[in-house]
């Protein structure tokens, strides 16, 4: 019997109170009749089989009934229902979208086997903490360390895929055969290349390339393709989820390392990934690699001085600012949710007061408090679900907008998706929201004794509710101030960045890449001929004012760091001798609008037989020949070659607007030994046009010219230089637009909240205000009285919001460039904006209060 009573707890409380005793009695009478073996057990089983489905059915009956009542009552107040649904949709939509992004970028396991055990190994020096390494160091790391079950290296480069229609540039990763084993990934078709026997001239396709270039042909395995003019065999196709080392990689080919590749430890271009042995922690691997690097430093002091190995879990590869950016959005979305809940709770409290009479009647008719609370919570949950559905649909539609915030450097697809995980989160969110704004008001609305509500007076309850609503308004205002402060600071940062001089002029410049396969262009003279022939004809095109070839475009190629030393200067560490190296043809500075400060441009006469020359940037001069010394004719050493400065140009922000860049050194493409520094071969063609011409209109002409010079050369990455500068701030402007939109919505919700509260206050105080009017109070005085209430609440909210906003801004300090978290302009503007909104929200109810006719007000009581 005790068990049966316990079982009855499954029923709703009201039902149990009504029929519990009867149920027990019937059960007892039934049980008494059961005889025979195992009678108690049979009774228990029968009881469970009877109670369980019926209890569920009773709950469903009540739910159905409550929903019917809820729909009926909401239909009577469609404005209220619509507002509630919209506000929920906003909160849930913002949070679902941001959660899917955060989950995708920061949390979800990467698509490799046991991804927690995969680490990246970077070479670090006091100046650069995250560098690629040389083949020799990579080999020694593998043999000297004891922490890894496998180690693989990759290097990426564009390659020309030809033989199928137009030549096309593909992003290729050259990988050691261990790569697929270390990551634990299998191909979906065919196989991957193996170490033994060595698969040479073979290629593994990404799912994307297989679909776009091979029409998803299942018979692609074994097919011959030409890569940089060399025949390759297709070995396999990887799954769509596999993107390593970056999201943009389209194919993998074996990385062939010959003995000559292991000679120079300063030639660093390999990205190393490794799998931790079972039971080896990342901390132990770090100690292990410290020992290995110390040993290599003793062995090769010339190249490995101060060189350490950084072991990073692959999940941690997300850059600090990408992470912060996503976290900032999470914070903003959370703010919106808090705001939405506060607003809805306030709405429901008000509604509870209006419905106090109805609830009291139902209570008097015998509905228990549990029953009333349940009815009200069903109503709020119903609204939450409706709003949640709208919100999730909006989030799904908005996801592509967020794809710009997915960092490209991750082995991930370019866009987050809505999946079961995200939908599960959204469901929890909806339920939490519904309860957060529904439960409190439901408890409060159902609590007054029937007598209280049926009678005229329930001022104490109303006063209590009013206090809670006032508190909620303060919370709303504070949350919107936080958002305003955060987005205000980001706007200031953005404006500062956009005002920065990048060091070059990007408008009316077209950038085109001709990838120049290294194997075919190892001979310097051959490359120079290619440049000369292409440039000569391009410069002759109508509308072209200048054209040049360069190693890499600013803000696109950010690294390219070499060490340049000046004879007679004390040996400095790597950071103090680092320069950004570019090879450039004549007219490069003119084309990019980089000002020539002194001396001359690089010239066609700077050949291998002429003296070695260089053009350097102003900061290079400041570093090595400070105090107004004449830099022209002075020499420095770079890549074992002495070079004389013939010109000085302005500095360029090659690393982008948000980072400082190393001084730049420009060399003539002809003054380099065959197959030396081959990675710096100029590949980017830049063309400046006259103001009247759209640079993109030159593309067909350039395509003809390049094809005539080398028919196998595709044109890759054709874009105006403006796009590169624009991309530089694109994640920021996306984030800014999002955050700004959220902040404005927050402001709107808060304003509506204040409006709603004051409207309610005015209607509650109608009699009092009427008496005041009758006693001779001026209309202006009444307006002031009502507005003061709204403004006081807004002021309290603004003050606390500014404090919280300052705390939040300190947390996102890394996103702020040149703007302090306590930036007074932003804080004051955010506060003012909120107060103005509050004033606007208070104005209508205040005017209404002033128009109250004392006679009508007094009569209505």
């Amino acid at each position: 019997m005790r068990f049966y009573r316990w079982l009855l707890r499954l029923y709703p409380e009201g039902f149990r109170a009504e029929y519990g005793e009867e149920l027990c009695r019937v059960h007892a009478e039934r049980a008494a009749l059961t005889t025979g073996p195992a009678a108690p057990l049979r009774n228990t089983l029968a009881a469970v089989a009877d109670v369980l489905p019926n209890a569920i059915a009773v709950h469903l009956d009540i739910l159905r009934q409550d929903l019917r009542v809820a729909v009926r009552s909401l239909r009577r107040t469609p404005g209220f229902a619509l507002t509630a649904i919209l506000v929920v949709a906003l909160g849930v939509g913002a949070n679902t979208a941001v959660f899917s992004l955060a989950d995708f970028v920061l949390v979800r396991p990467l698509p490799f086997r046991d991804p927690g055990r995969i680490v990246k190994l970077w070479q670090s020096t006091p100046a650069y903490s995250r560098n690629e390494c040389s083949p020799a160091n990579m080999r020694d790391w593998g043999t000297l360390s004891s922490s890894f079950s496998g180690l693989a290296a990759t290097t990426t480069r564009p390659a020309n895929l030809v033989g199928m229609g137009e030549p096309r540039e593909v992003q290729l990763a050259l990988a050691t055969p261990e790569l697929f084993g270390v990551l634990g990934v299998r191909p979906v078709r065919g196989r991957v290349f193996s170490a033994d026997p060595v698969d040479e001239a073979s290629i593994v396709l990404s799912d994307g390339l297989w679909r776009s270039q091979f029409g998803a042909d299942p018979a692609v395995i074994g097919r011959a393709v030409r890569l940089n003019g060399v025949p390759y065999t297709v070995l396999g196709v990887m799954p769509a989820s596999f993107r390593y080392p970056h999201s943009t990689i389209e194919a993998w080919a074996p990385l062939a390392l010959g003995p000559e590749n292991f000679e120079d430890r300063d030639d660093t271009y390999l990205e190393v990934v490794a799998r931790l042995r079972p039971r080896v922690s990342i901390a132990r691997a770090r100690l292990d690699m410290d020992r290995v690097s110390a040993q290599l430093e003793r062995q090769y002091p010339a190249t490995n001085k101060d060189l350490r190995v950084r072991v990073v879990a692959i999940r941690e590869e997300v850059g600090g600012s990408s992470r912060l950016l996503v976290l900032a959005l999470c914070g903003a979305a959370l703010c919106i949710l808090v705001l939405a809940c506060a607003n809805l709770a306030s709405l429901f409290l008000a509604r509870g007061l209006y419905r106090g009479h109805e609830l009291a009647v139902r209570s008097a008719l015998g509905a228990g408090r549990e029953r009333l609370v349940r009815q009200l919570v069903t109503e709020s949950l119903g609204l939450a679900v409706a709003g949640g559905v709208v919100g999730v649909i909006a989030a799904a539609a908005g996801l592509p907008l967020l794809s710009r915030l997915v960092p490209e450097g991750l082995p991930l697809a370019g866009q987050a998706t809505l999946d079961l995980r995200v939908l599960g989160f959204a469901t929890l969110l909806v339920l939490a929201t519904g309860l957060a704004f529904g439960l409190g008001p439901a408890l409060s609305a159902s609590s007054p004794s029937p007598r209280d509500a049926l009678g005229t007076g329930s001022r104490s309850t109303r006063a209590g509710t009013h206090r809670i609503r006032a508190t909620l308004i303060v919370v709303e205002v504070a949350a919107s101030v936080v958002l305003l402060v955060a987005s205000g600071l980001l706007i200031r940062t953005m404006l500062r960045l956009q005002a920065l001089d990048p060091g070059f002029v990007s408008d009316h410049v077209l950038a085109v890449r001709t990838p120049l396969p290294r194997d075919l262009y190892l001979i310097t003279q051959r490359r120079v001929q290619f440049y000369d022939r292409v440039l000569e004809q391009v410069r002759a095109l109508p509308g072209v004012t200048s054209a040049a070839y360069v190693t890499g475009l600013p803000m696109s190629m950010r690294g390219g760091i070499w060490s340049a030393t000046v004879a007679g200067e004390p040996p400095a560490d790597a950071g103090a001798s680092a320069v950004g190296l570019r090879f450039a043809t004549p007219q490069y500075f003119a084309t990019l609008g980089i000002p020539l400060r002194r001396g001359r441009d690089l010239a066609a006469s700077d050949t291998r037989t002429a003296p070695n020359v260089a053009v350097v940037s102003e900061s290079f001069v400041r570093r090595h020949w400070p105090g107004g010394q004449d830099p022209l004719g002075r020499t420095f050493k770079l890549a074992d070659m002495e070079r004389a400065v013939v010109g000085v140009v302005g500095d360029v922000r090659v690393r982008g607007l948000e980072q400082s860049s190393e001084p730049q050194v420009y060399l003539p493409p002809a003054q380099v030994a065959d197959s030396s520094i081959i990675g710096y071969t100029p590949k980017e063609l830049v063309v400046r046009t006259s103001a009247a011409l759209d640079p993109m209109s030159l593309v067909p002409g350039i395509r003809r010219i390049v094809r005539a010079v080398d028919p196998d050369q595709p044109l890759a990455r054709v874009r105006p230089l403006d796009d590169i500068v624009h991309d530089e701030t694109a994640p920021r402007s996306t984030q800014l637009r999002l955050l700004g939109a959220l902040a404005l919505l927050a402001l709107l919700i808060a304003g509506l909240g204040i409006h709603g509260l004051l409207t309610f206050t005015v209607s509650m105080r109608e009699r009092e205000l009427g008496i005041r009017r009758a006693l001779g109070a001026e209309a202006g005085g009444i307006v002031g009285l009502v507005m003061r209430e709204g403004l006081v609440l807004a002021a309290v909210g603004t003050a606390s919001g500014i404090l919280l906003g300052y705390a939040a801004a300190r947390g996102m300090g890394a996103l702020l460039v040149g703007v302090r978290p306590e930036d007074p302009l932003t804080l004051i503007a955010a506060g003012m904006l909120c107060l103005v909104t509050a004033a606007a929200g208070s104005l209508l109810p205040a005017l209404r209060a002033a128009r109250i006719d004392p006679m009508t007000a007094l009569r209505s009581e």
């Binding site: 039902f15 009504e18 029929y19 005793e21 009867e22 149920l23 009695r25 019937v26 059960h27 009478e29 039934r30 029968a46 089989a49 009877d50 109670v51 489905p53 019926n54 209890a55 059915a57 009773v58 009956d61 009934q65």
Partner: protein, 121 residues
């Protein structure tokens, strides 16, 4: 109750348990256990309602206005603590409507030449 205004037909077809409870209360007021016993006897033990099913049905039927709790006891012989139920006029109307529906079904089947056939052994 709002359901009082509804047409008896709107509740058809009745769930078997509901119909049997209406039948059990057709002639006399009964308490829960008595309803169970009546249903069981009348169907020759074929329909054995559980306590849970019974009271869920009762709760819903009270809500729908088909039956009502008897507030004044009929005779002193009855157990004072028990809760008795009786048919309401609306309940009677619904039971009649259900009978008409069933009879109509049987008529339709007969018109098609279908006969019940011999009772299964």
């Amino acid at each position: 109750m709002a359901t009082d205004r509804e047409l008896p037909e709107s509740l058809l077809p009745l769930p078997p348990a509901t119909f049997h409870i209406l039948l059990a209360l057709a002639d006399v007021e009964r308490h829960g256990y008595a309803i169970l016993q009546d249903v069981e006897q009348r169907t020759g033990g074929e329909l054995k309602l559980g306590a849970g099913t019974l009271y869920r049905s009762i709760a819903r039927m009270v809500e729908q206005g088909l039956i009502a709790e008897v507030t004044r006891r009929r005779s002193l012989g009855d157990d004072e603590r028990r809760r008795y139920y009786r048919l309401t006029p609306f309940g009677t109307a619904v039971a009649r409507a259900e009978m008409r529906r069933l009879a109509q079904l049987v008529r339709l089947a007969r018109a098609r030449g279908l006969t019940p056939g011999p009772e299964p052994a």
